[in-house]
Symmetry: C2
Subunit: 244 residues, 2 copies
DNA sequence: AAAGCAAGTGTCATAAAGACACAATAATAT
DNA sequence: ATATTATTGTGTCTTTATGACACTTGCTTT
C-alpha cells in the first residue's frame, strides 16, 4: 500500500448496519494482533469526495456496489488516538515505511451505511483476520473511539427514521410485519404495540401486502409485504408524520 | 498569520443564524477585493478539536463566548474550490508566503450556530471589509459552495427543530408569541395557524407567560414569554412530539 | 371617537394514538 | 388424529391531537 495518494489527517469510518435474526448488527473487522474489533474504514484519495471514498471502502469490505450511505459526524478530538491499538498491529506487521502516515493525527468522518444483511460478503482487509457482524448492543472491545462512533450512528439512525428509507435498505425485498416492527423497535430502543404499529405503518400506504406467507417458522405464518417504492419515497420527502 | 500550526486540508465554515425583524439571518463577511460574501470560517490548529476551533473562530467574528454550535456536514467535493475567489483576495493582498496553504484542497466542516442577534458584534477578518447579516433567502453572491452550505444548514435546522433548543438560542430572553411563531414559520418555510400554534406550543409547558406586554408596536400589545429552561430541556430529550 | 388591525380566547369536527379483546392458524406435542 | 401453543390477523373503544374557523379585546392611528 502506498499512502502518498491519500490526504493527510483525514480518515473515514463506516458503521454498516444490517438486520438479521431480529437484531441490528454492525460490520466489524477483527485486528490481526490485538484481536480488537474495528469499524471498516480507510483514507481519502487526493481527488475523491468523502462519499466516493466511503463507497470504495465499503465495496472492498462487502462486495456491494450501490450502498446507501450518509455521513453523520466528524470525530476530531485531538486525543482520540491516544491509545492506538491499530498502530501496534501495524508495527507488528512490519509495515515500517507507512508508519509516519499512521502516526499523524486523524479526523475521522463517520458514515453510516444501510445494507441487506444477506447480500454482504464480509471481507477482511490487510490488518485484520476476520470481518464479521456484531450486535449493536453486544459488548465487544473496539479500537479508538469506535464504540462512540457506533452509538452516534445509532442516534442518527433514530433521528432519521422518518426521513430516510431505512426499512427499505435494511430489509430483504419481501418481509413480514413482525420483522418490520422489530426493526423499528430495535432502532428506537423501545417496544411498540403490534396492532397500533401495523395500523400506523399501513396508513402511510408505503407497503404492498402480498398473497404470500412466510412459512417454516413456528406458529401462524405471517403475510409478506414489499415496499411501494414510489409511495415510500414520496412519503419520506415530508417525513412520515408523527412519532413512534 | 502563520499557518504552520494549522492542519492541512481542513477548514471550517460556520452558518451563524440570528433572528431579527421577523426574519432569519446569517452572518457573512464581505471580501475586500471581490466584494463577494463568505461565511465566517477558519482552520484547525494541530491540537484542537473542530468544536473548539469553531468556537475560537466565532468568538473572533461575534465577540460571543458560549455559542450554541453543531457540526452538520463535511463539504468534500474535490472541485468545490475550482473558482476560488478568496484566492484572488489573498493574492491581491500580497500575502505570498501563505499562498501554498490556501491553494491546497480543503474539506470544509460545516457548523451551524444559533445566536441572539442583538448580542453579536459583527467583526470582519483580515480578508474582509465588512461583517454583516444577510437574510437567508436574500440573493447574495457567495464564494465557493457557501450558498450550498447555508441551504444544508437550513435543512438541518428544520430537521432538528424538535430536538434542539432552537427558539431558546435564537430569541431574546423575553419574546412574544407572534415572534416565536414567525421563527418557526421561517425555519419551516410555511405559514402556521396562529391559534393552533399557540395551543400546541403551550401544551409542551416549555413557556412561562409573563405579566408584561411588548408595547410600542402598532396595535394590541402582545404578552411576553420566557422559556422554562428545565421543562424545555426535558421536553427536547425525547423530542417535541408531532409535526408542524 | 371611530377605524383598523393584530392579539387573546374558544368551539367544533375530524384524525391520530393508546389500550385492549378475540378469533384464526401453522407447527409441535400427545 | 387431536390438542396445545404461541403467534398472527383483525376490530373496538376511549382519549388526545389536529385543523379549520369565529368572536372579542385592546393598542395605535386618523
Amino acid at each position: 500500500m502506498d499512502f502518498k495518494n491519500f490526504l493527510n489527517h483525514i480518515s473515514i469510518d463506516c458503521v454498516v448496519f444490517g438486520f438479521h435474526e431480529f437484531d441490528l448488527k454492525a460490520l466489524t473487522l477483527e485486528m490481526k494482533f490485538t484481536r480488537e474489533h474495528a469499524l471498516p474504514g480507510g483514507f481519502l484519495k487526493t481527488d475523491e469526495s468523502l462519499e466516493d471514498a466511503a463507497k470504495r471502502i465499503l465495496k472492498e469490505r462487502t462486495g456491494l456496489d450501490k450502498i446507501f450511505l450518509q455521513q453523520f459526524k466528524v470525530f476530531s478530538e485531538p486525543d482520540r488516538a491516544k491509545t492506538n491499538a491499530a498502530l501496534k498491529d501495524l508495527k507488528d506487521s512490519g509495515n515500517k515505511p507507512d508508519l509516519h502516515f499512521f502516526e499523524q493525527r486523524f479526523l475521522s468522518v463517520g458514515f453510516f451505511a444501510l445494507v441487506e444483511y444477506t447480500k454482504v460478503q464480509p471481507t477482511p482487509d490487510s490488518f485484520s483476520t476476520k470481518c464479521d457482524w456484531i450486535g449493536v448492543n453486544e459488548e465487544v472491545s473496539l479500537i479508538l473511539d469506535h464504540h462512540t462512533i457506533i452509538n452516534e450512528a445509532l442516534k442518527e439512525l433514530r433521528l432519521q427514521l422518518n426521513y430516510q428509507p431505512i426499512g427499505l435498505k435494511l430489509l430483504p425485498k419481501k418481509f413480514t410485519m413482525p420483522e418490520l416492527q422489530k426493526l423499528y423497535e430495535v432502532i428506537l430502543g423501545k417496544e411498540l404495540d403490534r396492532r397500533n404499529f401495523q395500523r400506523k405503518i399501513l396508513s402511510y400506504k408505503i407497503l404492498t401486502k402480498l398473497n404470500e406467507r412466510r412459512t417454516g417458522g413456528a406458529f401462524k405464518a405471517p403475510f409478506l409485504y414489499e415496499f411501494d417504492l414510489k409511495n415510500y419515497q414520496q412519503a419520506l420527502e415530508n417525513g412520515l408524520t408523527g412519532g413512534w
